[in-house]
């Protein structure tokens, strides 16, 4: 329950951090909030030769509006996202999701760059990156590149980052919709989700004309449900059957796995209930939000 030996460096610039990672030849690990890395170190499930502590790189910590896009620096803490008025107005689904991200002491430390890099299939921020079609700016020894969230997550705890690459910032284009909801269920509040759904809809006259849907906890990565989005277009918002119809669409498009925490049947049942609740809340919010 104590980490194996490692060296430690705390650079104050991004370039120095990337150089240290490249010099470690794949044996280095980035230490940001440390809320996923430290348990792995304590259990000796990872034994890096060096930790590159990026907490001193001030340029990585910001939330700003760049044109229409909300840009979040990789070192921004969960607690800052939870509290940000900009996130509350521009990315309301993220604002609603943040209170489900672990517990206060974890949110005080955990970072968005760390959460995306760790790529837990039941973590909120990877799902939100997918949901909002975020672009992830990363820097490696050979320069910078932008990766679409959709191309970023490969498998559970696996993404496309090279060993010398660091997440620099995450760019979120806001959705100009008029109804949304985030629903999640975990065994204990703040724990990783058994199932979760994010929904955002826009209506024209009495029908949905655009929708965005993502789920997590039901596959090895978070999932964007594009076919469900397309099926929602044209559906009447006043119809009492809409929430049930949406729940059926969602459950028929995922095939959850059974694991220690929940059976596939239970996850499907849970997701059905969460989807119904999400649509009901999204429809109820219409007209009250821009």
């Amino acid at each position: 329950m104590k980490p194996a030996k490692f060296d430690y460096i705390a650079p104050t610039t991004l370039n120095a951090a990337v150089e240290a990672l490249a010099a470690a030849n794949g044996e280095g690990k980035i230490l940001a909030g440390g809320q996923s890395l430290l348990p792995l170190l304590n259990f000796r499930m990872v034994r890096p030769s060096i930790l590159v502590d990026v907490n001193g790189i001030r340029e990585l910590s910001f939330i700003e509006l760049r044109g229409e896009t909300v840009v979040i620096g990789a070192l921004t803490r969960h607690r800052e996202l939870e509290q940000s008025p900009l996130i509350a107005t521009e990315l309301p689904v993220m604002a609603a999701a943040m209170r489900h991200v672990a517990h206060l002491a974890i949110r005080n430390r955990g970072t968005i760059g760390g959460s995306l890099s760790h790529a837990d299939p039941a973590a909120e921020l990877p799902m939100l990156a997918l949901f909002y079609e975020a672009a992830i700016l990363v820097q490696g020894i050979s320069g910078r590149r932008i990766i679409a969230a959709e191309d970023f997550f490969v498998d559970a705890l696996t993404n496309v980052l090279a060993p010398d690459e660091i997440v620099v910032e995450v760019q979120f284009p806001p959705l100009r919709h008029d109804g949304w909801s985030f629903q999640e269920k975990a065994r204990r509040f703040g724990d990783f989700a058994l199932a979760s759904i994010a929904l955002s809809i826009r209506h024209r006259e009495a029908r949905i004309d655009e929708a965005r849907v993502a789920v997590m906890g039901v596959a090895d990565t978070p999932l964007r449900l594009r076919t469900v989005e397309q099926s929602l277009v044209g559906i009447e918002i006043e119809s009492p059957a809409t929430a049930d119809q949406f729940a059926r669409l969602v459950t028929s498009s995922v095939t959850p796995n059974s694991d220690l925490h929940a059976s596939a049947e239970y996850r499907t049942h849970l997701l059905e209930g969460l989807a119904r609740r999400a649509m009901t809340a999204a429809l109820a919010g219409m007209g009250t939000k821009q």
Binding site: K5, Y8, L38, N42, A105, I106
Partner: protein, 160 residues
Amino acid sequence: MTIGVAVTVNGTRHQIADVEPRLLLSDFLRDTLGLTGTHVGCEHGVCGACTVLMNGDSVRSCLTLAVQANGADITTVEGLGTPEALNSLQAQFREHHGLQCGFCTPGMLITGEDLLRKYPLATDDEIREGLSGNLCRCTGYQNIVAAIRSAAALRQRNNK
């Protein structure tokens, strides 16, 4: 490899020349500084017993390296009050019998302090949600929630 760490704990400045990077803040506080009020339970961030304040924010000291606390201001349970002069939250824990074996209590108190400062804690649901990262195996939480509810009301009254 060892690194020098300068840290202020409960108002006292400590300078330790040779800290191994792998040393956890929890072990640094207990073994290096002898402050055993901070308890070590699960050592992977689940139980909350080791929670301390770092620059005013509650953090898991088992998920923080001692070298990361370089330059930081740490408050442990020893820094909240003394047996003769408990702080208002500690006094409410005593008043409401908010502890039995006491193992989780340092983490509960530090988490409670952070919650009291950051959230209005107007409802029991809010208090329970705030405490969801701290495990207690004795009390069933009822009395801990009652103690925090009472401390929140007291502090609100005193701030008016």
